[in-house]
Symmetry: C2
Subunit: 197 residues, 2 copies
């Protein structure tokens, strides 16, 4: 994993892995037939761990807890380096895409489903919330911040972020957004209101 983080999947070579591990290529080839298999295995092993998300009692608390976990996970330099790399590679390599799908995203959908399911049961969200959109709103900002922009995020900012995302989720699960006809390209709108329900 260190080698993968250091040079990326594209430049990863069996020789370098063996070198870094202090063994010879043969030892590596005896266990994995190709670098794809090797990477798929360590990714599955590392990212496939499912963990339960504790129920804190309300949506904001759950979000804050999830953000804390994500911050810790993406705070690891190895993860912050490897995950975006593999996600980019997944667009090229269906095998990697499938493995990541099975390891990361289904896990996220799982947790997102739990989180949203609880919120719906509590009445915090509408019953017909789109899980996909909800996952986008939940993991998008934090992923962008930590993995893409690579800016640090203080733990004391998490409550604010959780509150903001909770508000977004509440709005996103409303049945429809009625106003805004097709005048968005025509310039100034007299700004009737910002919150017509």
């Amino acid at each position: 994993m260190q080698e993968l983080a250091a040079v990326g999947y594209g430049r990863l070579s069996i020789e370098a892995v063996a070198r870094r591990a202090g063994v010879s290529k043969t030892a590596v080839y005896r266990r994995w037939r190709s670098k794809l298999e090797l990477v798929l295995e360590i990714v599955s092993a590392a990212a496939g761990q499912r963990f339960p998300l504790p129920d804190t009692g309300d949506l904001r608390g759950d979000l804050e807890m999830l953000f804390l976990i994500m911050t810790r996970a993406l705070g690891h330099p190895l993860a912050a380096q490897i995950i975006p790399d593999l996600l980019a590679e997944a667009a090229r390599n269906p095998q990697i895409a499938q493995t990541l799908q099975g390891a990361l995203r289904s896990n996220q959908r799982d947790i997102g489903g739990q989180l949203i399911g609880r919120a719906i049961a509590r009445g915090e969200l509408g019953p017909d919330t789109d899980v996909d959109v909800a996952v986008d709103l939940i993991v998008g900002p934090l992923y962008w911040r930590l993995a893409v922009a690579r800016a640090p995020l203080a733990v004391e900012d998490l409550p604010r972020l959780a509150a903001a995302v909770a508000a977004a989720l509440e709005v996103a699960c409303l049945p429809s957004v009625p106003d805004e006809p097709d005048v968005r390209l025509s310039g100034v709108v007299p700004m009737a209101d910002s919150g017509g329900s």
Copy 2:
């Protein structure tokens, strides 16, 4: 750019570029001294274009417009392939990081600053909004959706997303979020106000 999208930065070779372009390596080496210079130049050329974001009159409209532009940009298969790749590579290569910083992120901060500045001027957001957090909330979900999860996003979903993000921004710019004891976000749908103060 096609070669870059096809094999990624790590595996990009001058020979392959020359082959795909139908010229010889020498012709390439005469113009760029290394593959890094080549990539930096095409990235600057492609992503450095600044464009003004039209003022639609309210925050949600501005967001929707921005989302429409981003959807188009990230909808290009080349961009959707190259941008995550380079962002992952930027974590390894300071030169790429710096160029991307100058091209993509400062642009985003610029646009985000415009958008938020207008919203503050309109009274839709509080005056001490953190631009960084706001940018996270704005671009995070859409980037995740289009570039990471690579799921399609229908244009008719943009208004809903814009409304959700606007709600998140309104909450995020509140001065402070007193956590645990109160549950005011739990059941209430906070559509009543459009301005913080």
